[in-house]
């Protein structure tokens, strides 16, 4: 489990580098987000929740049954859209309202 970072999309704001509970994400000299060791990621998604441009996406390792799909979040205040893609093509969108409690 880890994150993919699309450096072409990254705007270098650095927000993702601050929140990682493992201090794993850093900015390169040319101001692009980079994960120091892809195997060290816990998969908590703290970083991608901060990303305004969808440059960071979660994926599951093949060793835990990943099929190469990715997951990312678009934060819109109280609402956040979670988008699951295959080859950058959206396959599912789940909208969460932060004001709604879980039913379970």
């Amino acid at each position: 489990m880890s994150i993919l970072i699309n450096q072409n999309k990254c705007i270098g704001c650095g927000k993702c580098t601050v929140v990682c509970p493992g201090n794993l994400v850093h900015l390169t000299k040319d101001n692009k987000a980079k994960i120091s060791n892809i195997k060290d990621c816990w998969g908590c998604c703290s970083c991608l929740k901060e990303c305004l441009v969808g440059a960071l996406k979660l994926f599951l390792g093949a060793d835990v049954g990943g099929q190469g799909y990715t997951l990312y979040a678009k934060d819109k205040g109280d609402i956040s859209d979670w988008i699951i893609e295959e080859n950058e093509t959206p396959k599912a969108k789940i909208t969460l309202n932060k004001k709604d409690a879980n039913k379970y």
């Binding site: 489990m1 601050v18 509970p21 060290d40 816990w42 998604c45 979660l58 390792g61 835990v64």
Partner: protein
Amino acid sequence: MQVKKLSTDILIIGGGTAGIFAGITIAEESDANVLILEKAYIKRSGCLAAGVNALNAYICEGQKPEDYANYAMNDAHGIARYDLLLSMSQKLNSVTKKLEDLGLVILKDENGKYVLRGNRNIKINGENIKPILAKAVENHPKISVMNGVNAVEYAVKDGKAIGAYGVSVNNNIFYVIEAKAVICATGGAAGIYRPNNPGFSRHKMWYPPFNTGAGYAMGIRAGAEMTTFEMRFIALRCKDTIAPTGTIAQGVGARQINSLGEDYGIKYGFTTSQRVYGTVKENIEGRGPCYLETKGISQEQTADLYKAYLNMAPSQTLKWIESGKSPDVQNVEIEGTEPYIIGGHTASGYWVSDDRSTSIKGLYAAGDVAGGCPQKYVTGALAEGEIAAHSALSYIKGQTLTSISDEDIDIQFRKSTKYLNNTHSTYSINDLEEAMQTIMDTYAGGIKTNYQYNQIQLTVASEKINELIQLSEKLTAKNTRDLTKIFELKDRLEVARVLIKHLESRKETRWHSFAENTDYPQEDDRYLVYINSTTLNGETKMIFRPLIKEGQKHEHID
């Protein structure tokens, strides 16, 4: 490397639930200055980074705090502290209310009452629990937070905690922090044992791989008394993603079934350790894999599960969707995790008095590092944060800051930074970490042996862990990030070393899987005792303490 000296009234190590709540309590109830030291960044640090799905410790209508304490005592098969459980339980509902006031969304019925999940749980939206707590800290000008600083050792003088030392994770700064009192609120320890998926997904653990047992290790090195490390915690989790199972089991009422479709729960019992053991046993006896029976749930339930998991363990939702096998069409396979040492679930940690003072004067413990008080979960950690804050506040009255001497600073500085000067190590930090995990897995009851161990194996584990401790002294660091990783490894090794001593000392099997001693496969009433330990100059001495019964309290004696 630069040395920076700071001082505060109360130093809190760890900006998780317990630490933050202790900080808020101090700021709201006193004029004391408080400093929270956090290895990462408090907005998303520790075990609640991704969120949490429910509050699992709440006194529901018709229940009393005593009922919760009795439940936890029973789940621990008698080896827990009733006094600690009761003082925690008495605060569960008030801290929940406070959390709601800070902004946590809690599900309510049409009459405005919390919707209950069983007898002890309430339903929430806990995705943003850490941002909510972090914001509450920001609103208090008297609380200072230092993010990105890894605490490495307490400063102790004449048996009294007078501060701590820390190293910046990203900058060349060595911190010396003087304090009138210290509250340890770091997390428990993950990554001591080989994880479920040791390859690419090695860090896909349930408990965060960044919680390395620093609080325990600092306490051990400072000579604090520790308790019940042998009650390891093994979580029953969704296979591969290692995501929590309670949401499925309790949310949609899914049974635990084996590959023959049989509900095996009743055969083994329903305590936390028995649920894990049943799953292990069904696999050993050829009836695996085991599942949570979700097949046939409605599409609405499936959609609600997707949302619930996005709010705490997003990988599980991704897994369901990308596999094309949603829980309504395929049961969810479950497995046990590697063992963790974590006082929020089992009873491992500092031996504390009812006021959460440790055996070192001026040092308090709360949350996952505080022992004797299992099943505390989020709200119990908050409650302990509040109790520790009150005790520290009362302790600092009449205390003055004790200066940490230049000589002591120099000794600690050299000890902490010597890895930057080491020039040659055959092994990398990762090499030694993997070696530790393999040793513990093979010889100290990891997944490989179905959590079982015997004395001969533990002796091997002990020898090999001691060898790794020696090797770790030679590790080299290029920068402070490497240094942090070295401290993390050394803390894990120290916890592993003491854990083995505890496993050796409990010559019975009281909790299946959690402490499965094949030399002594039965429960033995002679071990209705707390197994504690203290370490002096690297030598660990075991202490057997009689159980503290209902109505009694433990107080440290000077």
